[in-house]
């Protein structure tokens, strides 16, 4: 598969999840594991351009896929607009849910560049945060939507 633009090839045990492969084999520890029931969204990455919870896929299912993780979002020093918005809106505290949030929001804005409040809340349904109360996360989504729309 291709991960953040780099071709990678490894043998993996059949039962290995995509998230385990990213973290343990490739050392991309920005993708986090926050639950074991596919509900927290901390492990969200993009597979072939779609936001996917990487705990819901066996690594074999991603064979040959284009995978993008949080480590591949910035272009050099320049943060992705969603990363930038999360930073400026104080949309993160402990930061554990943040990579998954950012990947989910980037996916949401790709599908729906100008989401309503309701769309945002619905779009964040699969990502849990314990610190922020989501107030500033919703704010960051709106700001990123404007930045991306205006770019």
């Amino acid at each position: 598969m291709t991960v953040n633009g780099n071709k990678v090839s490894h043998e993996a045990e059949d039962r290995t999840l995509l998230v385990e492969f990213l973290r343990d084999t490739l050392g991309l520890t920005g993708t986090h594991v926050g639950c074991d029931t596919s509900q927290c969204g901390c492990c969200t990455v993009h597979v072939d351009g779609r936001a996917v919870k990487s705990c819901t896929m066996l690594v074999g299912q991603a064979n040959g896929a284009q995978v993008r993780t949080i480590e591949g979002m910035a272009e050099g020093e320049r943060l992705h607009p969603v990363q930038q918005a999360f930073t400026e809106c104080h949309a993160l505290q402990c930061g554990f849910c943040t990579p998954g949030m950012i990947m989910a929001v980037a996916g949401l804005l790709q599908d729906n560049p100008s989401p309503s409040d309701e769309d945002i809340i619905h779009g964040l349904e699969g990502n849990l945060c314990r610190c922020t109360g989501y107030i500033n996360i919703v704010k960051a989504v709106k700001q990123a939507s404007k930045t991306i729309g205006g770019a």
């Binding site: 045990e13 039962r15 973290r23 991309l28 520890t29 920005g30 993708t31 986090h32 594991v33 926050g34 639950c35 074991d36 029931t37 509900q39 927290c40 901390c42 993780t69 949080i70 480590e71 979002m73 910035a74 943060l79 990363q83 999360f86 930073t87 400026e88 104080h90 993160l92 505290q93 402990c94 930061g95 554990f96 849910c97 943040t98 990579p99 950012i102 409040d117 945002i120 809340i121 964040l124 349904e125 990502n127 849990l128 945060c129 314990r130 610190c131 922020t132 109360g133 989501y134 107030i135 500033n136 996360i137 919703v138």
Partner: protein
Amino acid sequence: MAAAFKGRREDRRLVSGGGRYTADWNLPGQLHAAFLRSDRPHARIVAIDAQAALAAPGVVAVLTGEDTLAEGIRNAPPMLPYPGRGGQPIKLPPRSVLATGRVSHIGQEVAMVVATTALAAADAVERISIEYSDLPAVIDAEAALAPGAPLAHPEVPGNVCFDFDYGDEARVKEIFAGAARITRVKLDSQRICGVPMEPKACLASYDAQQGVYDFWSSTQGITMMRGSVAGYGIAPDKVRPRAQDVGGGFGIRSGAYPEYIAVMIAAKKTGRPVKWVGSRSETFVSDHHGRAIRLSGELAMDEDGHFLAARYEWVCNQGAFPSGPGPLINTVTPKLTPNGVYRIPAVYGRNRLVLTNTTPITAYRGAGRPDAAYLLERLVEEAARESGIDRVELRRRNLIPKDAFPYTTPTQSAYDSGDYEALLDEVLARSDWEGFEARRAEARARGRLRGIGCAVFLEPAGGAGPKDQAMLKFGSSGEMTLYSVTGPSGQGHETVFPEVVGRELGVPPELITLRASDPDGPPLDGFGTVGSRSMGAHGGAALLAAREVVRKGLELAAKELEVAAQDLEFAGGRFRVKGTDRSLALVELARRHAGKGAVHPLDATADNAAGATFPSGAHVAEVEIDPRTGAVEVARYTGVDDCGVVVNHTLVEGQVQGGIVQGAGQVLGEHCVFDEGGQLLTGSFMDYAMPHAGLIGELRLYDHPVPSPRNPLGVKGVGESGTTGSLPTLMNAILDALRPAGVRQLDMPATPARVWAALRAAAGARQPPRG
């Protein structure tokens, strides 16, 4: 004034995947651990057979409770500096790191497998065979008090491990006997799971030559972790606790969990680093839980609605073992603030701490304060309804006036500062309290029940510990490292502590780097990040260290400028000869003296003895209920908070937002449930109702600072006050919405099912069936 918020120093790495949480650390040659946990609430362990597990592929070792006892690991005692009622000490049942003799709750650690991979360890756990002989279990705290109830531990007859009281029982009894009005409530502050987003994990290595462990875990501070480990019998100087990023604390990470000690022992026994990453399921059942208190209260008033006395009773479920902070946080808070923001001349309270066959209880955001505020503000609300006195007017009539500070409570606790009536006035104006009835009527026309509720509250914050230290060390080009034993988990200390120092020294905060709880840093005294104390205690110490730098700098600059120190003044980062334009920048002074020895002459350590502060707030919530479904929607929430001097508005607001929504989680859905057989029914995110985006849509917050005289910065605690306020505020609003439909009583969580059932029951009671 503060510049516009551009993001925290922490954020660059955290938004880029560069954070390093416990599970992100690895050591060469590390082994992996997995735990076998009790699948029953109370049983005698007849036999453990680990032979098949030991023979499984990749398995290096299997540890049981006997192995931990052989290592000299002992029962970690709770922090409890005082005895209970009648001078009685707390009764502690035996607890080992891995169970010995019997298991006392579902999820208790029984055995640990260490193997070459995490999967091999998990597979081998399945091969351990345990023969149990079940014992009767007790789950509910009030049931545990009943005569003849099963005993959670035979060592604790009656299941009460600590009986505590405060106040003047006889006087309160006398006042109640003659009072014109008495209001009573009984409430449930239900069991909550802390649920930091980072599941529990740890990594240990052991240096046999030095006898020292390096230990990575999610911690709320180095000295707390060392103190907690010492409780198990491992000397604090033999552990180097390590953490870079901590994925949430909320109180439940203030101490060392049994798994941590087992992993340390395994690293010592195998001679290799050992890593354990818990699953969310394990975290749900074994992270210590919060709240779990039955709250009863009585308030006595005269005819005019003046409060005369209050009496409280708390029955606190402590789970199977008293945790480190559990007994303290379930007794100290109600004693420190028994009258909340009101003048109540006499109080008496009794708190019984009860052992049951459930997961232990520890501090969880608020740690007794939301419970105290909830009880008192529900009492005041009901007293207003019963007396017919307007609920705002009743509060106003009894608030402690702003000229009464320092105010001493009937239990001899001294509030620092506050202006409660101003908070109340401001929140009423900001929330358009007066205009509410029109909104209620408009909602009624849409078939919705709209309600409004308020709470005026305070909480004790900070204090704890004689002093906290901070050290500023200079580098080669004027940059500084700030050492502190604070244990941040998202509060933004890396950003705001350098801001405190930078402002005092007149230098950009970027020149200062915080190293929090660094085991390789200088040894510093202090307590960790708990009890909303960090800014007052550690931030205050950082400020004093900066002042010490200035003091030393004056001496040093005087020599450089060839004047007497008293002829110099320090402002804007420069030492200036008074009345002249001759000056020397601090940074330049620091550069000139760098590299002349191990200690820079400007290096400074400061001690800060910060006292307890009492942040307060007045909050108003409006809710709408759909009577067809029972669903509660928070329409708007307004908070006016006195957190003392605000050092960084954005970070303070973030703390209050998070705190309010965390409280809203408890009010609207979160509930950690054990069934009668002691099984955890809410063991995953499928069953545990975590707050999602949109739980509170419109949240408006306003600072109303009244400086605290108890620390050099004038700050008050802020980490928990939002949670303290939102429990009573939201429940008062929900009951206000339900009252016209005849509902008088509802316990948290106000789930659609509960609200719907309450509405149905009230309708049934009002309209008896025909025929």
